[in-house]
């Protein structure tokens, strides 16, 4: 199709060349034709008229010769005497002699009364037959005419025999036959022919002498000549050829005026030079056509070939093949076009690569994005892939805290630094990509579970070194989830999902690295149905608070309990709080849980007030609760409903929950503080323990995270940390609580450090309310009524 199009263009160009050439040639031909035919036509006419004059002159000359010859006789005294005496034999012999001498074919003597006295023909004794020829001679002293005598044409002259006045007339005639015509023709230009014709009284033409046969019928079309002159030249056809024809009047005998000469000039001859010219022009035309055709084809090819190359290159570009087109050595428009085309192609290529890169890469880290990762993972797990593949998801912890504490640009820089650090932790063959705002993902081809785990460990230890950004030293933690192909999933989506679940499982287990555990994660469907079950379970009391006592160390009495939610699912059994609380936060169900928690805790508090148990009840608030502006009002309504002083209620918040939206959270906390609700910071020491924020927060209590307390007895560092934290808390006017106290030594140390409250398995694990009541009654840690 395209080739045909170019073929057509090439043909059109060639046709244009050819038609221009033919046009010029035809114009030239026309000009040559006009000039030449006018010239040659004029020339032919000139030749004809000139030949007419020549004929007249020749006729005259011949008549003069005859007259001279006759005059010799007519003035001869002996002849005159013979004439005067009527000596017929003598006269005849003299006439014969004269005719022979001057080459005349007819001679006669005519008496004054117009009788033929002697004749070399047979007219003796008869009246003179040639009209008024004698009268004309009498008038002018001589006469001459072309006459038809005995069926033949004669140039006839009559002169008087003077003695000394005319006493008789001598007539002399030369016969005009074909030979004579040929001798006249010899005087004229080539191509001229002469016919002598006579029109008889009956109107029929007779051709009497010719140099070229002539059809008498064609003579009817011939205009009559003016007397003594010519006709207008006309063109007559004869035997398929054209002749420019002229009728020449011949002198007549005064009576019969039917004798003419017809001069014909062959136009074939006249236009002979022109025909040669035409052949030359035609030859030039043919030669020129060949030259133009070949040259035009070459030119058309030089035009169409680069176009063809460009079209092919363009079609390659449309298929995604960005080959540059060959520019060629010339510096013409095609080269410019080709160069521009190449520039265009390369910029398209570059832009496409950029777009592809942007489409498959993350702009903050420059790492491949999830889409790209999925594609590569697909290749790895597909047929001909790596076989076993491990997928590792790394989720950066406390993202919002960093963002809020240091700003978005610092976060961007942090995330940009994490990419290379991950890459450095897992060298070799692997695919590293950004999975989401807070997650990275790696695929390790040909890797089994153990190698994945060691890779994860390397990643974890990679995070141990803090990141330095704009002079700040920032600690970043990460949770790591692992899923293996084909062990855990056989699809890309499945692997990513399972690795992400691995992260959550690590979180829920309080670990950094979690290999996906199918036992703990039966399915996403289960988790979704879990949320559906949550509300029902809340109503059915399947969700309950377990309470863990907090021991007031100076007095050794129980002054506080932390309410911890426990969900015993009728079918699933124990559901880890981390799992469903996280789920509830993610799915927007946390509001129901919070409302239930506040209501349950305050009601239980009321129950204990009724029982005269002086126990404060602490519950945990999530980040979402802190962004709820209506929370203080809800709390106040519940407190007043159960007639509980707000100081009996302790609300625990984690630093990270506050840091998600500090402004809003502080507003809510301040309002609660004004209501005289006790506020406590949970998990202190694991987050970004910013002293600045700590100072801003309207809190009364600080809870040191269990990770510092668990091994307190055996870890001098933890002892220093805990001790200094307690001192710092006290200096800020806060009560300090230690979580995770599991042995007596630790309890003792904490008491020495001046810690206010302690909580842990050493005292009691979280227990249902009945068990707690029994514990209060039976354990060595009684109620501190007396203390208060």
């Amino acid at each position: 199709m395209r080739a045909a199009l170019f073929g057509r263009f090439q043909t059109r160009l060639l046709l244009l060349f050819l038609s221009l050439f033919v046009l010029v040639q035809v114009a030239t031909y026309c000009a040559v034709y006009m000039v030449t035919s006018r010239n040659l036509g004029g020339q032919a006419r000139q030749h004809l008229l000139y030949s007419g004059e020549t004929l007249h002159r020749a006729i005259h000359d011949r008549a003069d010769k005859l007259v001279e010859g006759a005059a010799v006789l007519s003035t001869d005294f002996g002849f005159r005497e013979a004439v005067a005496t009527g000596d017929s034999p003598t006269i005849l012999s003299a006439l014969v002699n004269l005719a022979q001498r001057i080459g005349a074919q007819r001679a006669m003597l005519v008496s004054l009364d117009r009788q033929v006295v002697a004749d070399t023909g047979g007219l003796r004794g008869k009246p003179f037959p040639l009209g008024r020829l004698v009268d004309l001679a009498d008038e002018h002293g001589r006469s001459s005419a072309f006459v038809v005598l005995d069926g033949a044409l004669y140039n006839f002259v009559v002169v008087p025999v003077m003695a000394p006045v005319p006493i008789a007339w001598v007539g002399l005639g030369t016969r005009i036959d074909d030979a004579q015509a040929v001798s006249l023709k010899a005087l004229m230009p080539r191509g001229m022919d002469i016919n002598f014709v006579h029109r008889a009284a009956d109107g029929n033409w007779r051709v009497l002498a010719s140099t070229l046969p002539l059809d008498p019928k064609s003579l009817d079309a011939l205009p009559r000549p003016v007397p003594g002159g010519n006709s207008e030249p006309v063109t007559l056809a004869e035997n398929g050829s054209d002749y420019l024809t002229l009728a020449v009047d011949l002198p007549d005998d005064g009576v019969d005026q039917g004798t003419f000469a017809v001069l014909r000039y062959s136009l074939d001859v006249a236009f002979g030079p022109y025909r040669t010219l035409v052949f030359v022009l035609l030859g030039l035309l043919a030669l020129g056509l060949i030259v133009v055709a070949v040259g035009g084809a070459l030119v058309a090819r030089t035009v169409s070939r680069p176009l063809h190359r460009l079209a092919e290159a363009a079609s390659k570009v449309s298929r995604g093949d960005y080959q540059p087109v060959e520019v060629g050595p010339r510096r013409d428009e095609f080269a410019q076009l080709s160069s521009s085309f190449n520039r265009m192609v390369s910029s398209i290529d570059e832009r496409e690569k950029q777009i592809t890169f942007q489409a498959e890469h993350d702009s903050e880290t420059g790492l491949p994005n999830r889409r790209r990762f999925e594609r590569e993972l697909e290749a790895l797990i597909g047929p001909g892939g790596a076989g076993t593949v491990s997928v590792i998801v790394v989720t950066v912890d406390r993202v919002n805290e960093v963002r809020n504490a240091f700003g978005y640009s610092t976060w961007d820089k942090l995330i940009a630094l994490i990419g290379p650090r991950l890459a450095g932790s897992v060298p070799g063959e692997r695919v590293l990509a950004r999975l989401s705002t807070v997650s990275f993902i790696l695929a390790l081809p040909g890797c089994g579970g153990d190698e994945a785990r060691s890779a994860a460990e390397r990643i974890r230890s990679g995070f141990e070194e803090p990141f330095v950004i704009d002079g700040f030293t920032i600690d970043a933690n990460a949770q790591i989830g692992i899923a293996n192909h084909p062990e855990h999933a056989s699809t890309v989506g499945g692997l990513i999902q399972k690795a992400s679940i691995g992260v959550m499982q690590a979180q829920s287990s309080g670990l950094v690295v979690g290999v996906y555990d199918p036992e703990r994660d039966s399915s996403t469907a289960r988790r979704l149905s879990l949320m559906g079950d949550l509300r029902r379970s809340l109503a059915n009391r399947e969700v309950q608070f377990y309470y863990q006592p907090k021991i007031h160390l100076p007095s050794g009495t129980i002054t506080q309990v932390e309410a911890l939610v426990r969900w015993i699912h009728p079918e699933l059994g124990f559901v880890p709080p981390v799992e469903f609380i996280t789920l509830a936060e993610q799915t927007g169900h946390i509001g129901y849980l919070t409302a239930w928690a506040l209501e349950s805790a305050i009601r239980q508090c009321a129950v204990w007030r009724e029982m005269d148990y002086p126990i404060r009840v602490a519950i945990n608030l999530s980040a979402q609760d802190l962004s709820d502006r209506a929370l203080p009002a809800t709390v106040a309504a519940l407190l007043s409903e159960h007639d509980i002083d707000p100081s009996w209620l302790v609300l625990e918040v984690t630093e990270s929950a506050v840091m998600k939206d500090p402004e809003q959270a502080i507003k809510v906390l301040e309002e609660l503080n004004r209501m005289n609700v006790t506020l406590s910071v949970d998990d202190y020491g694991t987050g970004y323990s910013s002293m600045g924020y700590l100072k801003k927060l309207p809190i009364q209590e600080l809870k040191i995270d269990r990770s510092f307390v668990l091994n307190l007895a055996s870890s001098p560092q933890d002892q220093i940390l805990v001790r200094s934290t307690i001192e710092m808390g006290h200096s800020l006017g806060l009560h300090v609580t230690a979580e995770g106290v599991e042995d007596e030594a630790s309890a003792k140390l904490l008491r020495e450090f001046g810690c206010d409250l302690a909580q842990g398995y050493y005292y009691s694990r979280p227990v249902p309310v009945d068990e707690l009541n029994r514990f209060i009654e039976e354990s060595p840690w009684g109620l501190g009524r007396a203390a208060e």
């Binding site: 007259v67 001279e68 005059a71 003035t75 005294f77 005159r80 005497e81 004439v83 005067a84 008024r132 009268d135 009498d138 008038e139 002018h140 002293g141 001589r142 002169v159 003077m162 003695a163 000394p164 006045v165 005319p166 006493i167």
Partner: protein, 218 residues
Amino acid sequence: MRGLRAAPGTIHGLLPVVLLLGSVVSARAAQAVVTVTDDQGAPIEHAVVSLTSPDPALNGPPGKGAVAVMAQQDKQFVPHVLPVRVGTTVSFPNHDDFRHQVYSFSPAKTFQISLYSGDEDKREVFDKPGVVALGCNIHDTMLGYIYVLETGNFAVTGADGVAVVDGLQPGPYRINVWHPRQRAPLAGQEVTVTADAGVTASYTMSLKPPLLLGVPHP
């Protein structure tokens, strides 16, 4: 159809205007005065005017014994036209210093005078009426006429075209006018001459162009 150009002249010639005037002069003799002109009214020279009477007595003395002269001078016949009465002898004296050979093939008198010079007296008798054209065998341009008449009453027009015939006795005559180059003869005119009255007449005639003798026409 002969001589178209001569036709009007012929008409004039055939209808001459003749004015008869009262005869004058002496009782014994009278004059005829005749004027000859051409179509354009130009006078014609060398025209012979003759008056012939049916009465022989009125035609003058007989020609026999009379002698007329036709001389050759400067390669010309002098006079150009010589009227004579029948029987007159004409002398041909040669006044040139070279010879002439005078001849005539005219039916009225055919003769030839072989080469002669001036001191030889050559004579011929013209005894038949008619026109005798004279030529010279040596000089083709020489042409003369002797007009032989039956009467002695004749005269030749001069350069003024007028001829005067004298000595006419009273009686009836027929006037004839002839010219060697006339296209057609004029018809005779009958007149009567009285003793005291002459005759005056005018004639118009048409002439052929002069012959260019000895030279073919161009």
